[in-house]
Symmetry: C2
Subunit: 491 residues, 2 copies
């Protein structure tokens, strides 16, 4: 039998899997192997840039679909702002320019002309959007402004890793204006909760919500909040951030409105973003040595049907699986029928496992005779026979079960790898050997935070909501503890 020369020459599954480095051997290599082999991305001819191949972009389309619905349900509208920002606008907010100027790409020529003022490709859009908002906001009646943008941004990164840190990435950025500080804070926290709930419900990723320290907050923000997820190698990943910008930008961009009391006031603003790095999280939280494992709600294909074709019964089986695929599609199940004849069933099993499809249905002539099919779960490998007539009713429930089981496994892992304590020596050992999250009493001091990073490479991921410091002293410097801080090595 002929085989595609790019994806393994043998139908045997051992060789197939051998192309993915086991997680336990080299987690970083496992990650790269999986995303290349599952054709999620490919490296661009420019360092740090990548192409999202259809299988990878389909995951981003699911993120967009599910987040966009949540944004609209909470009253937001989409808009689109220019890709390029005049240098002078970036420079208006002092902290903002300091934070972003070192990592921007500069356009200096347009057509055949040298530009009078260099333009930067947006690394984030506060500066250009505030310029518009200064004209759009005039009266209290114009508020709130609740706008979101889906776009690509460029940040010239020195060290990159596909999905997790790339010089160009895709994201959404919300930018809102409000009449009062309270409204802005409520919006900031609402959108953080939208992220947390989205990660949990759709991605089956439990995330810890909290406030960022001064050192880790967004350049120009009053306060930054984040949701932090734990990858299966024990490192944390910031999966989304929500910023209360206060009046910092409103003051330098002159975003003022005449309030009902006839007073001219500065608007209160927020911004919040979630990017394609969440796809990296999805891979690292759920994937295994056989490749991707997608939660059913995120899976572009929820079910793959693989017919067992023989010369004698080929037509009969094909007719049956085509009818089955149509029936399941009619139930809004996302079904892929793999009826390619140039690959063996065993080869297909391996390929679709590697691509993370939650359920595989195998149908052969004997199954047809018995009025049943074989179902195999990707997450657990569990195999069962199901009567074909019950399938359309059974599958949606099974997909929900898989979704719940995957979330539970991720929560169990997270819980088993979250420690609380105040023994700094033990903390150092854990960050070196086991990693995971470590919640400790902390003094709130910037230099202390820096020293912990030097000692252990761990940073404060967030100050988790609702936690108080256990014990009165900072676990690192011994001064008075004011916060319970969650430390981890992070992506």
């Amino acid at each position: 039998m002929e085989q595609n020369n790019k994806v393994g020459r043998s139908a045997g599954d051992k060789e197939f899997v051998r192309e993915i480095t086991p997680k336990s051997v080299d987690f970083s290599q496992w990650y790269i192997d999986v995303i290349l082999k599952a054709q999620l991305m490919d490296y661009a001819p420019i360092k740090g840039f990548m192409a999202f191949r259809p299988a990878g972009y389909a995951l981003w389309e699911k993120v967009q679909e599910q987040l966009d619905r949540r944004f609209k349900e909470t009253g937001h509208q989409n808009a689109y702002f220019p890709l390029l920002i005049p240098q002078s606008l970036l420079q208006k907010e002092a902290e903002h320019v300091e934070g972003f100027a070192p990592e921007v790409a500069w356009v200096t020529r347009g057509g055949n002309e040298i530009l009078e003022e260099p333009l930067l490709i947006r690394p984030t859009s506060e500066a250009i959007i505030c310029d518009f908002y200064s004209r759009w906001v005039q009266s209290w009646r114009d508020l709130p402004i609740l706008i979101n943008q889906w776009c690509s941004v460029v940040r010239w990164e020195k060290s990159t890793r596909p999905f997790l840190r790339t010089s160009e990435f895709l994201w959404q950025e919300g930018h809102t204006c409000h009449r009062t500080e309270e409204e802005a804070e409520a919006e900031t926290l609402q959108m953080l909760e939208v992220y947390r709930e989205f990660l949990e419900t759709e991605m089956a990723i439990p995330a810890l919500a909290g406030r960022k320290t001064e050192r880790e907050k967004f350049a120009g923000a009053l306060r930054t909040y984040s949701v932090e997820a734990l990858m299966s190698d024990g490192r944390a990943l910031q999966a989304g951030t929500s910023h209360n910008l206060g009046q910092h930008f409103a003051k330098v961009f002159d975003i003022t409105f005449l309030d009902q009391d006839d007073q001219l006031k500065y608007a209160w603003q927020t911004s919040w973003g979630l990017s394609t790095r969440t796809i990296g999280a999805l891979i690292m939280v759920h994937g295994d040595d056989r490749g991707l494992v997608l939660p059913p709600r995120m899976a572009p294909h929820q079910v793959v049907i693989v017919p067992i074709l023989s010369k004698k019964d080929g037509e009969r089986v094909l007719t049956a699986v085509r009818a089955l695929a149509d029936r399941l599609k009619a139930e809004n199940i996302r079904v892929k029928l793999d009826d390619r004849e140039e690959y063996s069933p065993g080869w297909k099993y391996n390929e679709w496992e590697m691509r993370g499809v939650p359920l595989r249905i195998e149908v052969g002539p004997r199954d047809l005779d018995n009025g049943q099919v074989v179902i195999v779960r990707r997450d657990s490998g569990k195999k069962e026979f199901v009567a074909e007539e019950q399938l359309a009713a059974y599958l949606p429930a099974l997909l929900e079960t898989i979704q719940k089981d995957m979330l539970k496994r991720a929560i169990d892992y997270r819980d088993a790898n979250t420690r609380r304590g105040s023994d700094y020596k033990e903390f150092k050992r854990i960050m070196e050997e086991e990693r995971g999250l470590f919640i400790a009493p902390w003094c709130g001091n910037d230099e202390c935070e820096e020293q912990v990073k030097i000692d252990t490479k761990a940073t404060i991921r967030c100050l988790p909501f609702g936690l108080k410091p256990e014990g009165g002293s900072c676990f690192a410097c011994g001064n008075k503890a004011t916060e319970a801080a969650c430390f981890a090595r992070a992506y």
Copy 2:
């Protein structure tokens, strides 16, 4: 009563409409007035760039939704390729670089470093995508590749007009690879037909499909096809293009595959695109002196409900319209309830007419007593009373009627302004005075085409499918006519 100081201080409709220049007085100014007043866009601080405000972006979201469905139904998948392209890749295809180099934006600095090789922001993505395809295509089994990308592109334009020609615009670009020339040609024509049908069905815009001349074809293509629409000022607008790229790019980017016969062959390619300029077409085809007129299938809000509120009956009316809005939403009608108390009903009528909402429902206390509502069509101004209980059943049919009526009006206008003939003097007069489309026998000669443009500012929009030249001589130069060509002044 207080009024928003940005959108007219009076509740009277005369003043409201006075802010839009009549079409007949100055079509270009009418166009600008409408898009600014309906808040579809705003000018950016960089010349030629603009922001898509929520009302404008919502139209693009409708385009995306409706085209994306058609792309997927025809077997395409979405992907995303890098924003930046190395100069050396653009330069590979000679015609392509000649066509695009003069209008690209150049990135010369990244972070704090001067780049060794300048990067251009994509003006279109053939060059970068072909670089990936040269690796992704190896065997006949990898074909066809059917990929589409939604993104923004930058072309440094000297003279710009919102939506129609901007230095940055949003579009989709399809890029496909095939085994044979026939397959590529079939794909090219299929996607052109997708555009034509989309424009007709969703946008209520009749478009003429045909082939571009050598002079007007895409830089690097073998053949370009386009769909051309007629605006209500008699000028044509190219609404979408589909290119058969032949093997031009495959040869310079080395996109080869081993075919089933064991021969190494170059792939056959296509590309096709449709952009935010179609929003300009939507405005110019259907708009009137009161503002936008949106076909129901494109309208973000299909129906606006305006309650007539009085102190005495306010609560009763509000309760009723809220229930009505919920009922219509349950029928999948896109309803906007305008229950703002700071604006009068008359002011709202004008605002929503200006914003082009296809249907307005007015509900006052007396209507409630009579169990009816008032319905007003945006396209015809026709007003009718409808029993409230019949509304949910009546509205979908009425929206379809409006859609059909709008298409019919556009077809009637197009037909009334499409002429066939071979009298060059008459053609020159028509291009000067009445414009519209003019179909004439033409010789196929490049210099003749150029002379017509010098004489009349008209260009060949396309060589319409299925038309043969009437008469044996070119209407312009008198040489043998080989084509029936459609001429027009164009955007």
